[in-house]
Subunit: 193 residues, 2 copies
C-alpha cells in the first residue's frame, strides 16, 4: 500500500481498503534521474504521474523559441499533459522534465481505464482532481492578467514557499511570465523595504 498517494486520492472521495488495494495495483512505481525529459515536444503524453519525491517542471516553447513554464510539480502533486487532441492541427509543444532525482507513481491511459472498469468510483476522484487543477489554472490566468510582476512574485512565494529553494530563479521568472533580469530587480526592490 502506498499511503502517500492513497491519502491524496482520498481527499475528496473516501475509498474502502479493497478499493485502495485495487488502485495501487494498477500503478507503476518508477525512479527517474535528474534532468530527464520525460515528455518531448510533439509526443503524446502516455502517463499521469504522482510525485512521491522530487521536483519536475512542465513547459512550452513559444513561437520565438522562449520557454514558458506552466507548472512546477513537487511531492504530492500530479503532472501530465492533457492538452491532447484539442488543437489537433499543431502538435503540442509541451515538455516535462525532472529537475531533481524523482520517484513517481504512474498511470498509463490503459491502466487508468482498467482501474475505472474495476473500481468506477475513481472516475469521480479523478474528475475532482481535474476540477481543482482547472480552478488553480484559472486563478493563475486571472492573476497573470491583473497583477504586476511584484504582486505575482509575492503571491508565488506565498503559494509555493519551498520552490524558490529548489529551482533556479530564472525558472520562476519564466513561470511568472517576466524576464529573469526583471525578476532580479523586483527582488532587489522588495529587499530594500
Amino acid at each position: 500500500m502506498y499511503s502517500q498517494i492513497n491519502n491524496n486520492i482520498s481527499r475528496y472521495v473516501s475509498f474502502s481498503e479493497e478499493e485502495l488495494i485495487t488502485f495501487n495495483s494498477f500503478m507503476e512505481y518508477k525512479k527517474v534521474p535528474k534532468k530527464t525529459i520525460m515528455l518531448h515536444e510533439g509526443e503524446m503524453c502516455n502517463f499521469e504521474a504522482f510525485v512521491v519525491k522530487g521536483c519536475v517542471r512542465k513547459y512550452y516553447i513559444d513561437a520565438n523559441g522562449f520557454e514558458v513554464i506552466l507548472q512546477f510539480a513537487i511531492e504530492n502533486a500530479w503532472v501530465s499533459d492533457i492538452s491532447f487532441s484539442i488543437y489537433e492541427t499543431k502538435p503540442s509543444q509541451v515538455y516535462i522534465e525532472t529537475l531533481e532525482d524523482c520517484e513517481f507513481l504512474m498511470f498509463t491511459p490503459e491502466s487508468k481505464e482498467e482501474l475505472f472498469a474495476k473500481a468506477p468510483r475513481f472516475e469521480r476522484a479523478f474528475r475532482i482532481l481535474m476540477q481543482r487543477n482547472l480552478a488553480v489554472t484559472q486563478n493563475r490566468l486571472f492573476h497573470t492578467i491583473s497583477q504586476t510582476a511584484t504582486e505575482k512574485y509575492l503571491e508565488f512565494l506565498e503559494l509555493y514557499p519551498t520552490i524558490p529553494q529548489r529551482v533556479p530563479q530564472h525558472y520562476i521568472a519564466s513561470y511568472l511570465g517576466i524576464s529573469p533580469e526583471f525578476l532580479s530587480k523586483v527582488r532587489a526592490r522588495i529587499a530594500k523595504n
Copy 2:
C-alpha cells in the same frame, strides 16, 4: 429530447437512447433575460449551464476594481464556476452575466449527483468536458504570457470569429488583458495592412 445538448455530451462518449432520456430528465430548461447577473461575487455557484441560445460572460473583479473577463459562452458552451473551496479564505469574486436574452439547460450539484447515480457513465463525459476546459484554459494562459497584444487579438478572431459581432469591444480587451484604448490602436494598425 434535447438534441442540441445530447450531441454535445455525446461528443467523446457515446450513450444509449435510454441514457440520454435519463440525462435529459435531470436538467432544467430556463430562459434568462439580457443583462441578468446569474452569479454574484461571494455566492456559491449552484448551477452548471449549457447555453442553448444567447451569450454570457464570466468575469472576476480584481483588487483595484477592474473587471477581467474569463470566458464568453455562446451556443453549445458550458458555463459555471467551479473554483469552489480552493481558496476558502477569500470568497470567490466571480460573476456570471447574460449579455443577450438566453436559454439554458441547467444542472444543479444535486441533479448532477442523481444523474451520476442513475447513469454513471456520465461521470466520464463530464470529466472529459472538464479536461477540455482545462486544456483551453492552459492554452490561453500560455498565450497570455507569451504573445503580444496584436497576436492575442488575431488568435481571438480565429478562435471565436462570431463573438466580436455580439459583444462590445472593450469586453474583448478585458478578455485579452489589455486596455480598451490599446485594442482600438491595435485594430487601427491591423486595418492599415
